[in-house]
Symmetry: C2
Subunit: 289 residues, 2 copies
Amino acid sequence: MRRLAVFVSDGTGITAETLGNALLVNFPAISFERYAFPFVDTAEEAELVVREIRDAADSGALPIMFTTVKAPAVRAVLDGAPAMILDLLSGPLTELERALGTTASEQLGQYHGVGDMERYFARMRAVEYALEHDDGQSLRGLDAADVVLVAPSRCGKTPTTMYLALRYGLRVANYPLTDDDYHGESLPAAVAPHRERCFGLTTNARRLSQVRHERRPDSRYASLEQCTYELRRAEELYHRFDVPFLNSANKSVEEMSVVILRWLQERDASRRDQREGTPSGVRSKGART
Amino acid sequence: MRRLAVFVSDGTGITAETLGNALLVNFPAISFERYAFPFVDTAEEAELVVREIRDAADSGALPIMFTTVKAPAVRAVLDGAPAMILDLLSGPLTELERALGTTASEQLGQYHGVGDMERYFARMRAVEYALEHDDGQSLRGLDAADVVLVAPSRCGKTPTTMYLALRYGLRVANYPLTDDDYHGESLPAAVAPHRERCFGLTTNARRLSQVRHERRPDSRYASLEQCTYELRRAEELYHRFDVPFLNSANKSVEEMSVVILRWLQERDASRRDQREGTPSGVRSKGART
């Protein structure tokens, strides 16, 4: 069974797509053909969308349209589309107005706008920091790191680093563990002074071997034996020096990033509490955003 | 006026936060204190959340809770929180069930799960590609690029490159324009063979000067005069060689990425149409996702 699913937004469409996909995933038996229409903020743009839906939909079942468009003039045009329309914003917005006892501002959809420039600069700086400190390239400046990701090669350090920088503006360095690092009495010299910023990654040996084979087929580096060895030693290292870690094998970059962000916020909150004499752990669960 | 806003999710919380924030932005007069509770997938976790909300909320107005939690046992606990609860999923899910004439699967919330591994690998490869080709570092392998971002230094190439790689798994290289590049009879030699993959960025001179001053204060490089000159020549270059471009001054990384993704998809669709003899432009608006 196939069905057209379209996401129509007056901005980037990220809200409509994120929630729309979270809804569609509940219907695994249906294969959805997805189209995104971002930046639909005029009646003319909306007419193009309606025309395209009409062209695509003439045979078969009624398309599903997820929309976050709020401007009434634009919505009026979209309502003419031959589609089942799910307005993702207006229902909860009405509820929210009731809860807050006030009406929503007329100035809508400014979320990803000019006001985000400061955040944008912070993220740009964080990405540059990540680039400079990727794969142990530069071990200067680790004092400025929010997090130092530590792991054997190909456990997912780099994408996680970049995602944390881009989405949360965090300064993340990363350090690749090698065979030399497993025998010392301390963490590797480069990261030992920063133990409290270190976060480890591991994965499972079969997955790691598969990923490494992609890069260097049939090498010792990619062998299951070597991968098993490195992961075991890395996990021992994390345990020995009390470095928190997680297994990237069944986690997306987003999931790993949220876990790391939460750890960071809990660590900082408990430090703050210690300074201020509040018992640690009182506010340990919710991550302030 | 201050108000507590909490986001409770059984996954990363990205859906709850994205839509929740899109809703809260409609109430600019209220200052929201936001807390995220990701991975709340057991009744015990939910009890911790309820306790924290109770602790935080004892004075003042009722907190707002945005949730995407679906498991009834977990929801039942959350419903006991002293908060106004906005369920972001169940309303549209019921509508969607009606539209599709079927009930939602019991297997819920698997969106960011194991099934995404292929996508995860593609994104890892794309991030690595972006790292290798950042700032003209390696000009080999541009044949494999989906996009080559071209711009003067500090116009936002790098974060846009990384975002496109991480979110969409696109292979993006970038090339920094310098004074030497503006006088030739063609695009710079390194990118000339790839004109159809090139996408330009520009910004405004005052913003660029400000960003460059951060890196090299009071340099000629950061002077308003030099920035004005470079941006003017870069834009001339884009016009002369028919390179599409956009101004990053008032755009977030997400917005730029969506514009570039859409351009890419339109370009590929029109190529496909040319090959298949379909008039180009028929499906030019919707970006298949």
